[in-house]
Symmetry: C2
Subunit: 237 residues, 2 copies
């Protein structure tokens, strides 16, 4: 059975197999070694994620432990409590507590699985004013970069407290001058370049934990290993 | 447990999660309903595929039947027997027999699973002369469009004999005037447009069999179904 890496998160995960998406790129990167399994739920925050955790990751007899799970929530938790997306808001201390609960659940279910947290990305507030999901004209963004930054910081703290790796996307993206336009297409969701950045950073983080195609068993002989003079030799071993 | 669609084939399947790839697009199309599982083995022909069938599709207790399996071989079987890729060649009658054996194996293992054959694509012979995998300068292509066409025809015949759907890519692609350059990047593997065509044709074929996101149970409540005034209501049901 080929091992799995689960991608668990909100819309930024759910959309990750769209053209040039970071999830699809990861599946391509691990094409002969790992099944990359999409578990993205658009709009979800950590409060809702906790409600569905056992359904998303059911205990399956003989199902084996996944190699890794990426946990990528916070962009919705960080919606401001006094603007139109307030129903998605989760207070900062609860977000931290929820993330801890998600990590604990996964560690208990699969002690050897590598858990990797991803912070929410920065917010392009101008981009959010053009948000097509809001019915009324928006004059104030429902998310701010400052709020997202507080949740990102909390996410990094949880990772440190749990002793697991974290990809601090909020900080990483803002190191690039034109990050708002380069990486975000509506102030929140990723452009192809934004997807590329997430993919490349994840590849490095996973490799740091020993999870790269070179270190993993290849599913069936590679074409380049097959003996041109006796192709079936390999399969009969 | 979310149902699965397996993609079984050669390099055109293995590369299908690369940027704009048809496999990734399919995974995105079914993002909340189906796990699209990659089982592509670059360079493989049906003879080698038969050797590994039980390893690729092991019988797992309680594993459930996949919704569908795409079987996409023939581009390597159709290599000419007197050119440099002769070790990949499989005679036409054996190719037909092997395809029948693959379909029988899958039908026996999973009687309710929809099997869908895909014919090899047409061959751009000029593109093959620039094939980077050949060590010596190539003056004659190792694949011809005529040979690929014979295998495609055999594939269509097998589908008819088995009473299963088939995507006749060889015929479909050649309906477009500039197919060699539009759909093929090296006379064999797909361009973004070629990937798009495979994806769109597959979506239609699968929908014809009742397999589309609208007809399948959605994994967990959609954001749009959640009650803004009482978000947890949905999860407590």
């Amino acid at each position: 059975m080929r091992p799995k890496i689960y991608l668990f998160g909100d819309s930024i995960t759910e959309f990750s197999f769209d053209e040039g998406g970071w999830g699809a790129s990861l599946a391509n990167h691990f094409a002969r070694t790992v099944d990359v399994v999409l578990r993205g739920y658009g709009g979800y925050n950590t409060r809702w994620a906790l409600q569905v955790l056992e359904k998303v990751f059911p205990r399956v007899e003989g199902g084996g432990e996944p190699l890794a799970v990426t946990v990528f929530f916070g962009a919705n938790d960080a919606c401001l409590p006094d603007r139109y997306a307030a129903f998605q808001h989760v207070p900062l201390h609860e977000y931290k507590h929820n993330l801890h609960s998600i990590v604990s659940f996964l560690k208990k279910q699969w002690p050897k699985t590598q858990i990797l947290l991803i912070t929410p990305p920065p917010i392009g507030e101008n981009g959010r004013l053009r948000n097509p999901y809001s019915e009324n004209p928006v004059t104030q963004p429902e998310r701010t970069n400052e709020a997202a930054g507080a949740y990102a910081k909390a996410c990094v703290a949880v990772a440190e407290e749990c002793g697991i790796p974290v990809l601090d996307l909020w900080t990483k993206m803002q190191q690039f001058p034109d990050w708002e336009n380069a990486y975000l297409r509506d102030g929140l969701h990723l452009t192809p370049s934004g997807n590329r950045l997430v993919f490349e950073e994840l590849v490095v983080k996973l490799r740091d934990e020993g999870l790269s195609p070179e270190n993993l068993p290849v599913d069936l002989p590679l074409f380049t290993e097959i003996d041109v003079d006796d192709p079936l030799k390999f399969f009969n071993k």
